[in-house]
């Protein structure tokens, strides 16, 4: 009896092991005949190529490992901004689709239909090349928001120049920890004594006051660096100083946001529609204010419907960010699975590392969203 149960599983396992063994053997043999070696030693070798845009110190004299990190951070950056912006836009559009106002409603549904059905790569190209063609050359750019310039070479804006940033940063973390414990305390008070604190305003106060103190006693100092026009040749200019955000990042963020927001909007719409009308009426009848109804009754139930498919969209956005390579945004795929792979020829190793990295990012997002879902959703008794 037991044998009968185990046999198929054993055979499947054996089969998988054999297949895997066969592929490894074959790859090993092919690599041998072509004189390719397997190994990760290349990661510590000098990369000798430069990267356009990096969140950490980098230049070509550093290692391939460092270049990997630059690419990874760039991927995380565009994914993070994309997730935040597409969530905000998605909620707005999703709510707008339920609006009784004909114009708002139709505009929102046209938006969803349009941006969801045009292939993403096309949208990325559109925003990149259309923007490039439409934006002025640096010397013709006009000022906006005080001291920023939007040009074909990117957005140049003011950059903060910190003195003793570490101290300020530690103060920020302390503030967050204090806020966390304060909220725990306030919740306990409310449950035990029914006392309600203005939680939001007190938290905000803590968040501002603690870091602010470091300016007075911690030697923290903040000044601004402004972009200034620099002439490179008769007709070619650029900006120096300040902070430059490359047009590739802007176009990619825009395309990812506009595309992903359509799916999130649909999730939001489905979530809100999924909560029964009776719920709202019942809540109102026991004297909750409209904002309390939304916060305490509708949202916890709607979020339960919204979060799981939206998690998928976050994962999609992160994976889609790898289309960056098409428009020269130096993400993980362009820098590591592109340039580094070509320069080292370590295809198997690099593809392996890249896949493992995306898997890890995806798992991390999923885990975070599951945790959030559990926390926010109503506990079913």
């Amino acid at each position: 009896m037991k044998f009968k149960k185990i046999l198929p599983q054993f055979l499947t396992l054996l089969f998988i092991v054999l297949i895997f063994g066969f592929f490894t053997m074959n790859a090993q043999e092919n690599m041998d005949t072509r004189g390719i070696e397997f190994g990760f030693g290349f990661l510590s070798k000098e990369a000798s190529f430069d990267i356009q845009f990096s969140l950490i110190d980098y230049d070509g004299s550093m290692s391939y490992g460092r270049a990997y990190l630059v690419g990874l951070l760039n991927t995380l950056l565009v994914s993070f901004i994309g997730i935040i912006l597409s969530t905000i836009l998605g909620i707005i559009i999703g709510v707008a689709r339920l609006s009784p106002n004909y114009l708002i409603n139709k505009t929102a549904s046209f938006y969803v239909e349009f941006f969801r059905n045009v292939p993403l790569l096309l949208q990325i190209f559109f925003w990149y090349f259309a923007a490039l063609r439409a934006l002025p050359m640096p010397e013709d750019a006009s000022l906006f928001f005080g001291s920023s310039y939007m040009t074909i070479k990117g957005l140049y804006t003011v950059a903060p120049v910190w003195n003793n940033f570490d101290i300020f940063f530690i103060a920020l973390i302390i503030a967050i920890i204090v806020i966390f414990f304060f909220n725990k305390f306030a919740k306990k008070k409310q449950e035990e004594e029914g006392k309600q604190y203005p939680k939001f305003f007190i938290s905000l106060g803590i968040f501002i006051i603690i870091p602010a103190i470091t300016f007075i006693v911690g030697g923290v100092d903040l000044s601004w660096s402004f972009p200034e026009l620099k002439q490179l040749a008769k007709t070619s200019f650029t900006y120096e100083g300040g902070m430059g955000i490359p047009p590739e990042l802007i176009a990619l963020t825009l395309a990812l946001t506009l595309y992903t927001a359509t799916f999130i909007a649909e999730n939001v719409r489905a979530g809100i529609q999924g909560v029964g009308k009776g719920q709202k009426e019942a809540a109102a009848s026991i004297g909750l204010t409209p904002s309390q109804v939304l916060k305490l009754v509708i949202m916890p139930q709607a979020l339960r419907i919204i979060i799981p498919p939206t998690t998928n969209q976050y994962l999609n956005l992160t994976k889609n960010s790898s289309l960056a390579a098409a428009i020269a945004y130096p993400d993980l795929v362009l820098v590591f699975a592109g340039t580094a792979m070509m320069q080292t020829g370590r295809a198997i190793e690099i593809v392996g590392i890249t896949m493992a990295t995306y898997l890890t990012i995806s798992l991390a997002i999923s885990m975070f969203m599951n945790w959030y879902n559990k926390r926010i959703a109503i506990q079913e008794k």
């Binding site: 198929p8 055979l11 054999l18 490179l232 008769k234 650029t238 490359p246 020269a328 362009l334 295809a347």
Partner: protein, 346 residues
């Protein structure tokens, strides 16, 4: 229990199949690539995604160019027909994996022969069909006429996965100039971005610059600066480990160059069979057994010259007459002041 007998037998069968494949790969030590090519009936050739003069497809999908002609020469030699080639357009990034993974059998795509590519990643370069060097393109109205006018903050558009990316760094570093590299995966996007004004300069092989200039909105608004910052010997590449195939590709290219040296052209090749110069006779298959070592017949080289032409014809047809680089520069025969010099076919 009997239920699983069927599963078990199919499993055994599958394992058996897997093992026969394995032993086959081990046994096929002679030119597997040649055998496969003859079986398939076409040469699998990796080319660029469109570089006029070197490898470029017209609207009807016909490929032309000096890089294309190398593959055509091999097809004429091993299959008897220069048209029996299947072209696979590849970006700079894709090209080596396509070759090592066996998707193509020749890579003939403005690829620079370097030590690490040759020795480290399972490739073998068989020769040089175009001697080149890296240069810079700028807009004429910028007033820049030399790289010595480059200033800190300059942005340079280029392709990823190229020697260009590395040379560029060496160049700007040695001059102490800070620069912004804007590196794309595909050449068309590099051209589009530079053309739109994203970069102050576009850098790649000078041959590439000359070819890509023809794709700009207004080619006359751009110029290539005189400086050459690197050596870029471009040539066909094969997988390491099939020396017969390697030799076939190498000597197909050599045949084209030597034919020019001895004045053998597509028009006069047949009549050259009766030449009194034995070197010429060997080139057109009228003396010696020049194909035997590759397992080919004796007229393999005659077919190359008749169907594809000699190197000079190919250059004229693809690069000179199209106005891309009318001057042959170093890509002239050694007998005429250039550096094209190949070992003799004998």
């Amino acid at each position: 229990m009997f239920k699983y007998v069927k599963q078990l037998t199919s499993l055994v069968a599958m394992i058996a199949v897997l093992f026969t494949f394995t032993t086959e790969t081990m046994a096929a030590k002679k030119s597997k690539t040649l055998k496969n090519t003859q079986k398939k009936g076409f040469v699998r050739c990796g080319v660029s995604q469109g570089l006029p003069g070197f490898s470029n497809a017209d609207a009807a999908g016909n490929w032309t160019g000096v890089d294309v002609d190398v593959c055509r020469a091999v097809a004429a030699a091993v299959l008897g027909d220069a048209n029996k080639v299947k072209f696979t357009p590849l970006s700079a990034k894709e090209r080596f994996t396509a070759l090592t993974s066996g998707e193509i059998d020749i890579l003939s795509r403005n690829t620079t022969w370097t030590l690490s590519r040759d020795a480290d990643i399972g490739l073998t370069f068989v020769g040089v069909n175009f001697y080149d060097g890296q240069g810079f393109m700028v807009r004429k109205d910028s007033g820049i006429t030399s790289t010595s006018q480059f200033k800190d903050g300059i942005s340079a558009c280029t392709n990823i996965g190229t020697t260009t990316e590395l040379n560029m760094r060496d160049f700007f570093n040695s001059k102490g100039i800070s620069y912004t590299p804007v590196a794309f995966e595909k050449a068309d996007e590099v051209v589009a971005a530079y053309d739109a004004g994203r970069c102050d300069t576009y850098t790649t092989d000078k041959s590439g610059l000359a070819a890509q200039r023809t794709k700009m909105t207004n080619p006359d608004d751009h110029m290539v600066l005189p400086e050459t910052i690197s050596k870029e010997p471009l040539g066909p590449v094969v997988r390491q480990g099939d020396s017969v195939w390697e030799d076939i590709v190498r000597w197909s290219l050599n045949t084209m160059i030597e034919a020019e040296e001895y004045g053998v052209t597509s028009a006069n090749a047949d009549s050259m069979k009766t030449s009194d110069n034995p070197q010429i006779k060997r080139l057109v298959g009228a003396e010696g057994e020049m194909g035997a070592a590759f397992g080919l017949d004796n007229e393999w080289n005659l077919r190359i010259i008749k169907q594809v032409g000699n190197y000079g014809e190919s250059y004229k047809r693809n690069i000179a007459d199209t106005g891309i680089l009318p001057d042959r520069g170093p890509n002239e025969l050694w007998t005429k002041g250039g550096i094209l010099y190949v070992p003799p076919s004998r």
